[in-house]
């Protein structure tokens, strides 16, 4: 093996690509013929070709199914040695069949989601492949029909993968954790508890993990379901008397991914069963991922032993995306749908819809469809018109003064009426001030409106209250803690 050959392999300019391909393959073949008999070589490797060597080493395309089966069963050691000794390439060779378009590739393509057969055909003819093989999750067009079918059977949306997830400050940690789990690097991230409000991407991330796990090991038994489904199945199993089968289905798996675990709140028997399932899985070091619309301790009527277990691994939160992330999400969708909109329109949409990615995408769909169907240019006014109800939904989710007052009253053990009363002792006045501060922060109401809400107080009183609480937050950790807690729980209620 000469130095020129090795150098040649690293040169990836178009002109030398094919030449190196056949040079490399020639060397491999020569070596292979030393290892196997003449009859075997001619019978099985006569028309075998090396495929797409720029992207993957050792991908060999053969004439028929039988060639693939026989070579895979009998000649892999020799082939591996031929690559190593003949061309200096260390790889795990893979055999594919040149054949009709649409034939499914063997699932033994380790670590990658199988390519569409079309790419193989193009490569085999020696022409340039347009869609290079991606080593991590390739995007949707490249997933085979078989893989997509498998996902659908498991209840996973093929669109929800790592590729299509836009990472921002709001989701960076959660995304990193999921990525680590998907590549099985995070032994300590078990269980992985992902929480966040509706429409922020919990199901998307969990689906992405499932897809990557399946790509890594097509034979993996992945259970992907909603807690509601789990509960229903459990009830059915109890009813039919085949708990054994149920348990087998949910305990002898490679990964268990459950969406919206808050659903089992209040369901005693289901929680009990889930507790046992959970323990069994964790004891056998099976990866468990849970999503929830709130942090574990806030799930109402959930057994404490479950709460502690949910928190025993890693908990990550998905928060509403910031402005830049929202714009990035919109741009990504526009790219995917091949849609074009003026920059100011995109920015306006991002400014209008802030709390929910699903709603954001819905807004984009509406605006993009209208823009596509209508002859007039899209304008800010038109956007407002189109998104009217969505924007209203955004705002109704804001907190009300009453909610704030209730929360603060509860927290400080006061009556709701105290919030609006004229009573002045500090034990009542100070919470009232906190409530006013929160009202200013969390609602869009004017100072006058807030004042009105607290027993017709003057707007100046509200200003004073806000200033005072703000400075107390900075100096008194107790106050800071209380306000943060109240703030958080109020935001979550919506």
């Amino acid at each position: 093996m000469t130095k020129e050959t090795e150098g040649g392999q690293e040169n990836d300019s178009e002109n030398h690509g094919d030449q190196n391909n056949s040079q490399t393959w020639g060397l491999v073949r020569e070596k292979l013929s030393e290892y196997i008999s003449g009859d075997a070589f001619s019978r099985w490797f006569k028309n075998a070709e090396l495929v797409d060597p720029e992207q993957q080493d050792g991908l060999v395309a053969v004439q028929s199914d039988m060639h693939q089966i026989w070579i895979e069963t009998n000649y892999m050691d020799e082939l591996r040695a031929a690559f190593a000794e003949g061309a200096g390439i260390h790889c795990s060779p893979q055999i594919v069949v040149k054949g009709d378009v649409g034939a499914d590739l063997p699932e033994a393509v380790v670590g990658k989601i199988p390519l569409q057969q079309e790419n193989q055909k193009i490569a085999v003819r020696g022409a340039r492949v347009n869609n290079p093989v991606k080593v991590v999750t390739p995007n949707l067009e490249e997933k085979t029909q078989a893989f997509q079918r498998k996902l659908k059977r498991l209840g996973i949306n093929p669109d929800f993968d790592f590729e299509s997830f836009v990472v921002g400050d709001n989701s960076q940690f959660a995304h990193a954790a999921c990525s680590a789990v998907a590549h099985q690097e995070g032994r300590s991230f078990n269980p992985l508890f992902i929480h966040g409000r509706a429409g922020l991407g919990k199901t998307h991330l969990m689906s992405a993990v499932a897809q990557q796990l399946l790509a890594n090991d097509p034979k993996a038994k992945i259970v992907f379901l909603t807690a509601e489904h789990f509960a229903n199945e459990f009830i059915e199993a109890v009813r039919k008397g085949n708990l054994d089968t149920f348990r087998k289905a949910y305990r002898h798996v490679d990964a268990m991914l459950i969406d919206d675990i808050q659903f089992i709140a209040g369901k005693e028997r289901t929680q009990d069963e889930f507790f046992h399932t959970f323990n069994a899985l964790l004891n056998s070091q099976t990866q468990v991922i849970l999503t929830c619309d709130c942090p574990a301790p806030e799930i109402q009527t959930l057994e404490p032993r479950l709460i502690s277990r949910f928190e025993s691994g890693l908990t990550v939160e998905l928060q509403p995306p910031g402005f830049e992330t929202r714009v990035a999400i919109l741009r990504r969708k526009m790219e995917q749908w091949k849609v074009e909109l003026e920059n100011n329109i995109v920015v306006h949409i991002a400014n209008q819809i802030k709390s929910n990615v699903r709603r954001l995408e819905g807004a984009l769909t509406r605006v993009a469809s209208y823009s596509f169907l209508s002859p007039e240019n899209m304008s800010i006014e038109k956007v407002d018109e189109l998104l009217g109800d969505l924007v209203r939904d955004e705002n109704t989710h804001l907190v009300t003064i009453e909610q704030i007052q209730k929360a603060v009253a509860d927290y400080y053990n006061l009556n709701l009426s105290d919030m609006s009363s004229r009573r002045r002792p500090a034990s009542i006045a100070f919470p009232r001030q906190i409530a006013m501060y929160l009202a200013r922060k969390l609602t869009k109401l004017s100072l006058v409106d807030i004042g009105d809400g607290f027993g017709k107080r003057d707007h100046g009183t509200v200003i004073h209250a806000c200033k005072k609480v703000k400075s107390d937050i900075e100096t008194d950790p107790e106050v800071r803690g209380a306000v943060e807690k109240l703030n958080a729980s109020l935001e979550r209620q919506n």
């Binding site: 039988m66 089966i69 069963t73």
Partner: protein, 365 residues
């Protein structure tokens, strides 16, 4: 439903059909046997949704009807009953009362209406095949079926009706068994299909040596009528790979050996093969072949056989199980072993249309 039946007859009938029932069923009714009683006697049917078996049992039916009962439990009960005569009556709620001598049993069944019906074969191609021939052909090939579930197309026997011949092929990537037999059928009925290995097992259990079997083929199901018994099975969907590709061309050496001697020698010698050294080496010398096995830390074995051989000395190694399997399935006195070299597969042939390709193992010195 009410009937009287001899213990032997009931047990026989049930045992004919019970193997299809798997111990882990998804639907409870699949653990049950469908019992249909009429003036002609009993019909017993079981299924696992892929393969279904239906057989008959002689009985004195005083009241016809149908029900399904858990087959495993039923067989266990019937087997233990003290008397040779059994009386069974089933009420409207599918509760079966079984009386035999002083024993009384009651078991709860499920309604016959819930039992999944076996597929119908109204527009099917029909073939008439002597049982002995089919049984023999299955015997000669079934051991080579692949058990690797990722290669599902190979998890059955490829069967083809072509040019006046029935051909069966089975392979698992390391060996391939093929057998032909002349058969009469209309040329419009030329086709091929793949019989799943579970159905093959049932066939081997039920096929006899006399009479004919009727094979009915629809788009995706096959039915075998053997006497009053029926086996219905889904076919394996997919294209069977081109098996002819595997068969080597001209051999360098053809050796003719006594089948029984080769089988027994290999069996004895392979006692000294182990999981680590799972091979048996054949060294061909002037008019003899030495069959050897050796396992480090255990020992070695060596036996020679007479064989007409005048070529140069050479050795080839095979997996002993894979070598013995076809020898066990054949009845001929002599077999021909066609060899090329130590890295090429050997082919075992008989005077009949039987062929077995076996990949060699690496020869350890």
């Amino acid at each position: 439903m009410k009937f009287r039946i001899a213990k032997e007859a009931f047990l026989d009938g049930l045992q004919q059909v019970q193997h299809v029932v798997s111990s882990r069923t998804t639907l409870p009714i699949l653990s049950n046997v469908l019992i249909e009683a009429s003036e002609e006697g009993l019909r017993l049917t079981t299924t696992d949704l892929d393969v279904g078996v239906s057989g008959t049992a002689q009985a004195e039916v005083s009241k016809s009807g149908a029900t399904t009962l858990p087959v495993k439990r039923l067989v266990n009960i019937i087997r233990e009953l003290p008397s040779a005569e059994i009386e069974v009556s089933v009420d409207g709620k599918n509760v079966a009362s079984i009386k035999s001598g002083p024993s009384f049993f009651k078991i709860i069944g499920l309604p016959d209406g819930e039992f999944p019906p076996l597929a119908g074969f109204s527009e099917a191609k029909e073939y008439k095949i002597p049982q002995a021939i089919f049984r023999n052909a299955l015997k000669k090939t079934s051991y080579a079926i692949s058990t690797d579930e990722t290669r599902y197309v190979l998890n059955g026997i490829f069967s083809s009706f072509k040019e006046g011949k029935l051909t069966l092929v089975a392979t698992d990537g390391r060996r391939l068994a093929m057998v032909d037999h002349e058969l009469e059928f209309p040329s419009s009925h030329e086709t091929d299909f793949i019989i799943p290995s579970k159905a093959v097992q049932e066939l081997q259990r039920l096929l006899g040596t006399e009479g004919d079997m009727i094979l009915k083929l629809s788009d995706n199901q096959v039915c075998f009528e053997i006497g009053s018994s029926i086996i219905v099975s889904k076919l394996i969907e997919g294209n069977y790979p081109n098996y002819r590709q595997v068969i080597p061309g001209d051999s360098k050496e053809r050796l003719t050996l006594s089948r029984e001697q080769l089988l027994e020698t290999t069996r004895r010698v392979s006692l000294l093969s182990s999981e680590k050294s799972n091979s048996v080496k054949l060294t061909f010398g002037p008019n003899q072949v030495d069959v050897m096995a050796n396992s480090p830390d255990i020992g070695e074995a060596n036996e020679s056989l007479d064989v007409k051989y005048e070529g140069k000395e050479f050795s080839i190694a095979f997996n002993p199980e894979f070598l013995m399997a076809p020898l066990k399935s054949l009845e001929e006195d002599e077999v021909h072993l066609d060899l090329i070299d130590e890295m090429s597969p050997g082919v075992l042939r008989t005077e009949d249309a039987f062929l077995y390709v076996l990949m060699p193992m690496r020869v350890t010195s």
